[in-house]
Amino acid sequence: MSPEKLTLGCDPELVCRVGGEFTSASDYFKYQSSMGLDGNDEIAEIRPGYSTSPIDLTAKIRAVLEYGHEKYPELEFISGHYVDNYAIGGHIHISVEPTEEIIDALDVVLSSLSDCIDDQEQIIYRRESGYGKAKAYRKKIYGLEYRTPGSFLLSPAVTLVTFTLAKLAVVGVTEDNLNFHKLKGNDDSYSFLMKIEDYLVTIPDDCREGLDELKILLAKRSINWEENILPNWGLITEVAA
């Protein structure tokens, strides 16, 4: 699969709140919808479709969120790993045959990102509830579903960087035979990610923006996983003066 044809998709989950209090997504959304429900009725799930471009897939997520916000402006959406006693995930769909090398690469690269930006307490709770284990994946008709990440919808930047790293991890293996496990070696996650661009040989054009933003994201001082994601996606209505 050439990098130009490699598609990404996802079905990240969100906890819904009204006025800061948990509310069941099933009171608002239907199962078979891009702004729909997870198998667990309480949690919302976004199914934006797919794209070869991390930027386009991020924009598709915004379009779906916009629809949900327009329909139910009172709802707040929270991302992360474990929110209001619910484990929430951010499965990533990739149109490539799963191999041990590819799953290893996804694990090393995306868990490094998670080490740097995610709420570590939430990760522990999610794992204790049986989700988010390392190397969790399912073989699918289109390729593979990588199931380890939490819900990365905090902001377009976190989403874009996640997709970009997922694509680059796969391309690194399929195009350039990179072994990310060896490349990381004893480096901590931050140092490894700061150097990752130097390790990569093939960098598709649609991954440049995400790679640039990765460095700024890693330098960001504090990330609040408790906040409503909608303002970060430019989706809170202000009143014109």
Binding site: D11, R47, A63, V64, L160, L217, W233, G234
Partner: protein, 200 residues
């Protein structure tokens, strides 16, 4: 009492029979031909069965009830939306408030073109389509009613306004959207952009 299976015609005891409507089937034939709806437990013919994203079977009614036909389905993305994602990302990373595209009903004609023409703006605003009707051609929420009304008057549009609910909402008729795209773009920019609002 023995009952004949509708499919294989073998006879079975009453307690070994399963029913699909008024038709009796033996266990094997029933399992081959039918399953149960994951939601309502109704038996469904496997030939006409729907499946949800987890692969669970659904009957027609539950499937229809569970679809939201208005939700975007793998939406097309244009250049303005790509630019918006990059702007939003960078703004969040730098702790700043980002400009964004106006929100639209994607199912209404010409709105994507208008959204792209307006570009990124300071204030979030929702634009939707109205069908053509005689009594009014524009619906506007109260908070921006006067400004839209003034624009329509100054630009001599042949259009009647009526009040909508909520904030920052404008509905525009199909004919206006078709014939006055550029003017609509200017109208929205004048409301949703700080610089243009201040210049007025």
């Amino acid at each position: 009492m023995s009952i004949e299976c509708t499919n294989c015609c073998c006879k079975f005891n009453d307690e070994d029979i399963r029913w699909y409507g008024d038709d009796p089937y033996c266990e094997d034939c029933f399992t081959d031909r039918f399953t149960y709806c994951y939601r309502c437990d109704e038996p469904i013919n496997r030939d006409y069965c729907h499946y949800d994203s987890s692969g669970d079977p659904l009957c027609d009614d539950c499937y229809e009830n569970e679809i939201d036909y208005n939700a975007p389905d793998n939406p097309e993305i244009n250049d303005a939306e790509r630019e918006q994602i990059i702007t939003l990302s960078k703004s969040w990373l730098n702790g700043k408030r980002a400009k964004s595209l106006i929100r639209i009903n994607r199912n209404d004609l010409y709105l994507s073109d208008i959204q792209e023409g307006v570009g990124l703006v300071d204030l979030s605003l929702y634009l939707y389509g109205l069908i053509d009707r005689e009594d009014y051609q524009i619906r506007v929420s109260p908070n921006i009613f006067n400004r839209v009304s003034q624009f329509v008057l100054l630009n001599k549009w042949d259009a009647t306004l009526t009040e909508d609910k909520g904030y920052n909402r404008i509905g525009i008729s199909k004919t206006l959207r078709e014939n006055k795209q550029e003017e609509i773009i200017q109208l929205i920019k004048s409301i949703a952009t700080y610089e243009m609002a201040e210049a007025e």
